[in-house]
């Protein structure tokens, strides 16, 4: 059976050139970049080169890039590091209601240390209104965080405007750009954010390699205490091969982002256009245009996401869902609920996120096998039976 991978938001394939660049640092050049001998210095040079490449991708200085082990770690680093370093200025944190768990839960941890959280809602497309952020900011607000793009619904947020609002109120601003960097153009000079997270596994780099951009001159507490790695802010022996893979993936993304978009966006658009024609009672989630180019997300009414994922998997298609049953915690997606969807509809969440190499045939195959899956599950669904009964009346 042919396998079709449409779960970019969970992890992208590793680019062959990134793998090739990584291998020497897993084999012959295993040295520690902090060692003064030449093997160590070669590794250090490789880390420096990767830092330059990541900086180039987001238009920062190399010294503004701190390597971490995941997007979640970068978000923890930013939230906790900024809030605790500036606690004397204020103890309120403003967040959008659709932030990633690593942002929401970091803030929740900070609550135990005396901080308070103000959540800003979103509209039905999942867009955060900068004016709402401004309203949420109080004299106590020290930090705000709004993501650049939401991986569950694909919506891209007006981060530049929100950052401006925060700056005018002297509030620090972090953006979780994990879903965005490497897929759409991101320029930190233009966005003027204080910190920004990115992760390699969202743009064809390896897992376990990520970074936090920290604007020059920003006061932030170290995230891991120890040695002098990452300017003393994040101690621990560098994941050299991962960092090199991240650097190579960043270089390739800078070069190929446009052509990837040209390939994937028409296929994605086709999916968004045709899926609701093939299946009734389907809702596109997120903004129809202001969204990640590879990202299509829906709620299929009357049926549940995990049951659809299992059936798709049996047909060789890998996708994802924000349904309660899919999450380990068995909770419906906070993103979809914040957008005003009810629980039953949110349970029907389905995300198809295309990767490099997805073809028109793949999309056609999906459009062919998906309607019978929906039909089969709806036949089993008490909600669908109720809907049909009410329709008849």
């Amino acid at each position: 059976m042919k396998r079709i991978y449409m779960d970019h938001i969970a992890a992208t394939p590793l680019h062959p050139l990134a793998l090739e660049a990584m291998l020497p640092y897993l084999k012959e050049n295993f040295a520690n970049p902090q060692s003064p001998h030449s093997a160590g210095q070669e590794a250090a040079a490789a880390v420096d080169e990767a830092r330059e490449k990541v900086a180039q991708l987001i238009h920062s200085l190399p010294s503004e890039i701190s390597f971490t082990a995941s997007g979640s770690e970068s978000n923890n680093f930013a939230l906790k590091g900024l809030a605790l370093a500036h606690k004397s200025r204020g103890t309120n944190i403003v967040l959008s209601a659709i932030e990633h768990q690593s942002v929401l839960h970091s803030a929740r941890s900070l609550e135990k240390l005396g901080f308070s959280i103000t959540l800003v809602g979103v509209d039905k497309y999942g867009i955060v209104d900068p004016a709402e952020v401004e309203k949420a900011i109080s004299k106590q607000t020290v930090l705000a965080s709004v993501m650049l793009a939401n991986s569950e619904v694909g919506t891209i947020e007006p981060v530049k405007e929100i950052a401006q609002v925060c700056r005018s109120h002297n509030v620090l601003f972090h953006t979780d750009a994990v879903a965005a960097v490497g897929n759409i153009a991101v320029d930190v000079r233009e966005l003027e954010v204080d910190t920004l997270s990115l992760a390699a596994n969202q743009f064809y780099g390896p897992k376990g390699a990520a970074a936090l951009y920290i604007k020059k001159g920003t006061r932030i507490l170290p995230f891991i205490d120890g040695g002098i790695q990452e300017g003393g802010r994040r101690a621990g022996t560098e994941n050299v091969s991962g960092i090199v893979g991240l650097g190579m993936a960043a270089e390739i993304a800078g070069r190929e982002m446009g052509s990837r978009r040209e390939c994937l966006k028409p296929l994605r658009d086709r999916l968004i256009q045709l899926l609701p024609q093939k299946v009734d009672r389907v809702l596109l989630t997120g903004h129809p245009e202001i969204r990640l180019p590879h990202h299509a997300s829906f709620c299929i009414e009357f049926i549940e996401g995990e049951a659809m994922l299992l059936n798709l998997d049996l047909k060789g298609i890998a996708a994802s869902s924000g349904s309660a049953c899919t999450s380990k915690a068995l909770k419906a997606s906070h993103v979809l609920l914040a957008m005003g969807l009810d629980h039953a509809t949110a349970q029907g969440s389905l995300v198809f996120s295309l990767v490099e190499g997805t073809t028109a045939e793949d999309v056609n195959y999906l459009l062919e096998v998906f309607p019978p899956i929906v039909e089969r599950l709806r036949k089993m669904s008490p909600l669908y039976t109720k809907y049909l009964e009410e329709k008849e009346r």
Binding site: G121, F302, A307, D313, L330, L337, M380, P382
Partner: protein, 189 residues
């Protein structure tokens, strides 16, 4: 695959899916907040379950559990069917992922509700028209994922009072100014 072969087999070929229009008993459990909903229909003949049909809204485990319950109960006496428990269903299915065990609770519960409904109808046959037996909503604590018993919005394990957010319907700690899920301001009690 996260499920056993047996679960996947039932998920792909669920037995006894459907509706019995002139059922002798109907049982509904679950609600979309928790993720799964099941409706069981039974026909009873000579104190035995002569026919069982179900409809399920939910994940793979929920569908497999419903199918398994219907298969286990078919042809059994009322007393035998009442002995089917969440535990025996999960065992018959070759185990379920730990976080899915509450789905199997629902399968046996839904069948038991249908039987209860049948008994009520028998009693009420002379008096008034039968009603559907609908269970109270079973929910889970958002902090520890333990079950919340009955309609009390109180988690025994965490020993905290919970309340439903009027905006998103999610449970959260009582007394919090804003719902941590959707950001809506809670009305002060």
């Amino acid at each position: 695959m996260i499920y056993s072969e047996k679960v996947m087999e039932h998920f792909q070929n669920p037995r006894n899916v459907g509706v019995i229009k002139d059922a002798d008993g109907v049982g509904e459990v679950g609600n979309p907040v928790c993720g799964d909903m099941m409706t069981f229909y039974i026909k009873v003949k000579d104190n035995r379950l002569a026919d069982i049909k179900f409809q399920t809204f939910g994940c793979g485990a929920a569908i497999a559990v419903s199918s398994m319950v219907s298969e286990m109960a078919m042809g059994k006496t009322i007393e035998e069917a009442l002995k089917i428990s969440n535990k025996t269903v999960a065992e018959e299915l070759g185990g379920l992922p730990k976080n899915k065990l509450h789905c199997s609770n629902l399968g046996a519960d839904a069948l038991h509700k249908a039987i209860e409904n049948y008994k009520e109808r028998q009693k009420a046959a002379k008096k008034e028209a039968p009603k559907k037996s609908v269970s109270e909503e079973k929910c889970y604590c958002p902090y520890c994922d333990g079950p919340i018993e009955g309609l009390e919005n109180y988690c025994q394990a965490c020993q905290i009072e919970l309340e439903l957010c009027p905006q998103c319907g999610q449970l959260s700690k009582k007394g919090e100014e804003k719902c941590p899920r959707c950001g809506a301001k809670k009305a002060k009690a």
